[in-house]
């Protein structure tokens, strides 16, 4: 097969993946920007979002038919996933990370690792090891199942994933840049103590950051669930690494870097799948991660970090 002729197709696939990675990466980068903590459990929050979306779909359909309009179901799936994931994120902050605010960073990281293992096995115990399948056919409007433009296959679901993820990125950009809360977030990320002295309730900001980041992660989980029509307890692990890679690639701590990093990683991965055997497709993300961390740990948009002596 000619790689060039596949390019437009891979571009679409890459953008789809990229949008998802960007949504996940935002959660990592927002938390890191403020707490300098790698939230290891973020992948599981994504996975839980997938399960939440599955449950909404499951509860809103009887047999293969939906009890309400498909668009409404899709919206409810995304909102439900965001709510559940957001809640889990906030709870984990409250119980696992907040007590460690002053502790050495390694402790917080280990605690996050603990949360990750706990959540993953919690889902394993209560949802089982078998994947849950999304019966999405009823969600897709008739006639829009597959759109083909000049040999490029553009499925409805890909369109949905791309538009929803880019919509969320736009909203987040607005919130961070234009609202009062966004200003408080940026201040907290620059200097948490100073922000505190200026009357910003930084605890509340941190909760908000976990809420937003986790909600976006949850939305990504559900979108991917719809796209690949399944979710299982183990998907968070890979997604977590991909999201983190995207965050690092863009420059960790930088929200726009996370978006950019996600999209680039998605495109790279889509290209790689046409070059390498599929068993090794995940190696691309790992390789990108390792290369970036070793040669340019500040990423594309991040500022170099220097320890104050």
């Amino acid at each position: 097969m000619d790689i060039l002729s596949q390019l437009p197709q891979q571009l679409i696939n890459g953008l789809t993946l990229g949008g998802v990675y960007a949504l996940i990466a935002i959660g990592y980068t927002m938390v890191y920007g403020i707490l300098f903590m790698l939230n290891f459990a973020h992948g599981e929050i994504y996975m839980i979002g997938g399960f939440a979306g599955w449950w909404v779909l499951h509860l809103l359909s009887s047999g293969n038919r939906l009890v309400m309009h498909a668009a409404l179901v899709i919206a409810l799936m995304i909102v439900g996933a965001m709510a559940v994931s957001g809640l889990v994120g906030v709870l984990s902050e409250r119980f696992a990370y907040r007590p460690l605010r002053q502790a050495p960073r390694m402790n917080a990281l280990l605690s996050a690792l603990g949360v990750s293992i706990f959540l993953q096995n919690l889902v394993l115990n209560f949802q089982g090891a078998k994947p849950r399948f999304f019966h999405v056919s009823a969600l897709i409007p008739e006639g829009l199942r597959v759109i083909e433009v000049g040999g490029v296959v553009f499925s409805f679901m890909r369109g949905l994933v791309i538009s929803v993820s880019f919509l969320f990125m736009g909203v987040l950009t607005y919130v961070v840049k234009k609202t009062k809360m966004g200003k408080a977030m940026r201040a907290t990320a620059q200097d948490i103590e100073a922000a505190n002295f200026m009357g910003i309730d930084t605890d509340r900001i941190i909760v908000m950051v976990f809420l937003i980041g986790s909600a976006l992660g949850g939305a990504a989980g559900t979108l991917v669930g719809m796209l690949f029509t399944q979710v299982d307890y183990y998907v968070g692990f890979q997604a977590g690494i991909k999201g983190f890679t995207a965050a690092v690639l863009g420059g960790i701590g930088n929200i726009f870097g996370a978006m950019l990093g996600g999209i680039i990683l998605g495109l790279l991965e889509a290209l790689a799948t046409s070059l390498f055997p599929s068993a090794y497709k995940d190696v691309v993300a790992f390789a990108v991660l390792i290369v970036v961390l070793i040669f340019k740990p500040s990423g594309l948009l991040g500022e170099p970090m220097r320890e104050k002596v």
Binding site: R105, L110, F118, L124, A279, Y280
Partner: protein
Amino acid sequence: MANVFLEWGTRRSHRVTFYAAAVGLLIALPHVMPDNYWLRIYSMTGVYVMLALGLNVVAGFTGLLDLSYVAFFGIGAYTFALVSSAQFDVHLPFLIALPAAAFITMGFGLALGSTSIRLSGDYLAIVTLAFAQIFKLLLLNLDQPVNITGGVNGIFGFDPIVILGWRLMSPVAYSYLIWGAALLAIVASWRLKKSRFGRGWEAIREDELAAEALGVSTTWMKLKAFAGGAFVAGATGAIFASFQDSVFPNNFDFPQLVIVYCMVILGGLGNIPGVILGAVLLTVLPEFLREYGAYRMMSYGLILVVLMAIRPQGLLGSVRFLVKGQRRPDKDETGVLRASTDLYYGEERKEDETSPLHSAGHRVVLELERVTMAFGGLTAVQDLDLRLREREILSVIGPNGAGKSTVFNMISGIYPPTEGAIRYEGRGINGLKPHQVARAGIARTFQNLRLFTKMTVLDNAKVGQFCRTRAGVLSILFHLPRFKREEAETEERVREILALFGARLTGYRFDQEAQFLSYANRRRLEIARALATDAKVLMLDEPSAGMNPQETLEITGFIKELRDVHGYTILLIEHKLNLVKTISDRVIALDYGRKIAEGTYDEVAGDERVIEAYLGRKKTQTEEPEQA
């Protein structure tokens, strides 16, 4: 915090008893196991003890979050599998296959470490995690096009172990082999911990930059920890493979990593008895809780979260009965309470009026020539010339942000200057790493105290001697004469230095953790630590910051003594101008990164530009600038 067991283990008679008891126990235990199933659990416990101890070197001693640790375990196991099975029809004898597995794994550890070791904390964790995932992908997929790893099915059916013609087959024999190796790992851990390596690693864990500035070659030491951990994991992997008589990718997966981490953390990172206890508990307990097996991993996650929140030091960290009783400082030998003021101000040193006037030498020891340091657009220091002469106290003063600390950071190699030359004893030292600068003979303290807070006073100072000692792994593991000689010398030297500070850093304080010292004593310990590097040039960054007037007077006298009596050459940053006035031979004033005045204190203090820098443009020539 001194540990009774460790303390206890250092006395010869006790040590012999300890080894005898341990060997006796290991011989007896396999025979009291109720059945083969429990014998197997017993052997697996030994495997986990080894694994946990290896991880303890990396994550516990050194504080490196190495998430590829279990991959090393796997590399050892698969190496063994490939060289003693029908897979490639290679059949090396066990006594060659085992070290081969260990050394090959160590090679992987070195290779991986050298690419990622300079990444800090979370970055290292995530990169090693990525390596581990690649390893797992390879294990699963390298069954095609050539079958190397056997894919999901793994490799099984290994040659039986033959040691000196004796075939090792029975479960009891395996338990002897495994626990014998575990005992070696325990002794090796112990010896490493109580050596310059152990102290260097701990210093890195506590404060990497301070360790580097004190002469610990941090990159190399971290690499050694990484390689050491890989070596133990590799050897354990080989033994495990032989014991299980098969290897599967699943044996080396993420959950396995979590289990080993939980063992190390449960016992207490760096705490050897604790880690052993953790390994035993987490291998044996699940056997009793088998009906709740489904919740095993879930509870491991909870264990991690809860431990980090309420007991990050682990089960055995700072347990009362393991910690040596400390005498209260405010009681004398008879137990009578003394007033604390007695203790601190009672033994005031007599002002020696007739102390011989020192004479600063003329030889230039340290020279900065047109040195510039720019951070992006900000030039912190510009075209600075500075000459430090032998046995001189040269003070650097200037308002906040004048670039004083940057000067120190450039000399000590933390920031490489953008332009200019730094020479020490005629030799160019720019471009040297901080630990090389320290070894060359320039030691420093930090303005914002960077002690190794969880290490004892004695160990803090001993870290300073790291760069003066040479003992390597073999010396340490086998307690060769060189190691013993160096340890004795280090101990003596460090006690000598701490004695300079009188009761403040000696006696019961030797075994006190630095975090429990008063602020002034921490400053003193920073100086002691710098002295312990056997430096000739001392750079003291605000040694009197945070001290009350009484303590300031005392430290002033002490710094003077360092020069007059002990012949140190001293570069000093200080804001308290009374102190500067009392002891400086010369003073340099910086403002906005440029030298604005140089000369005796009076010359500099009278300089208009200096007055302007401190007090602003208004003319106040008659006033002396007050403490900034």
